[in-house]
């Protein structure tokens, strides 16, 4: 079984500042890792995913994440945030396999201030 921990429930940051949203996972098998974003009153949209290969993954809207197997982490970063990045961010893990379910973290609310 897999589990995901997002330690920060809220991250306030000023516009144009860098941000890191933390995600740690637990699994006894190989995993796929995902970050999803949920804008207010909308569904979830995939930001980026790690499947294999390069540990640095680039996604949409200038976000990137780094897979660290030894620390079982998949932190999300952006060097300069915009007001429009204000949203809920979810880290998710799936065991390698065709029908494994996605296990979501509890989410991190990113609030960008002007």
């Amino acid at each position: 079984a897999q589990s995901v921990t997002q330690l920060d429930s809220q991250v306030p940051v000023f516009e144009e500042a860098p941000v890191e949203l933390r995600c740690n996972y637990s699994s006894s098998v190989s995993v796929y890792l995902f970050w999803y974003v949920q804008y207010p009153n909308q569904g979830l949209q995939l930001l980026l995913k790690y499947l294999s290969g390069s540990t640095l993954v680039k996604g949409i809207n200038g976000f990137e994440a780094e897979f660290n197997k030894s620390q079982t982490s998949f932190h999300l970063r952006k060097p300069s945030v915009h007001i429009s990045d204000t949203a809920e961010y979810f880290c998710a893990v799936s065991g390698v396999g065709n029908t494994d379910k996605l296990i979501f973290g509890t989410g991190t609310r990113l609030q960008v201030f002007p």
Binding site: Y32, G43, N98, F104, T106
Partner: protein, 115 residues
């Protein structure tokens, strides 16, 4: 073009009523899911169907009954609605092929409010 659509977007109803939420995907996927997002934004899977067959059934009251008439549709019927059923319900779909990596595509959600 909407990839995963849900109807209705909002649903307000009284306790004890029976209601249904519909989901359709036009991505050609063979696996569909229902998730419940509570007031604290926690997302939890409820059901998963692959090729119209139930493959995941988490600990969900049997008042909730999913139905998949074909691979493109997964509906959720809820009997005897309770206050605690108030939440946002998300439908999602994915391909079970080797190249899918379980990447799931989500619908816009249905906000259910039980009074």
């Amino acid at each position: 073009d909407t990839a995963v659509s849900q109807t209705p977007k909002y649903l307000v109803t009284q306790m004890g009523n029976d209601k249904s939420i519909k989901c359709e995907q036009n991505l050609g996927h063979d696996t569909m899911y229902w998730y419940k997002q509570d007031s604290k934004k926690f997302l939890k899977i409820m059901f998963s169907y692959n090729n119209k067959e139930l493959i995941i059934n988490e600990t969900v009251p049997n008042r909730f009954s999913p139905k998949s008439p074909d691979k493109a549709h997964l509906n959720l019927h809820i009997n005897s609605l309770e206050l605690g059923d108030s939440a946002v319900y998300f439908c999602a779909s994915s391909s079970s092929g080797a190249e899918s990596y379980n990447e799931q595509f989500f619908g816009p959600g249905t906000r259910l409010t039980v009074l």
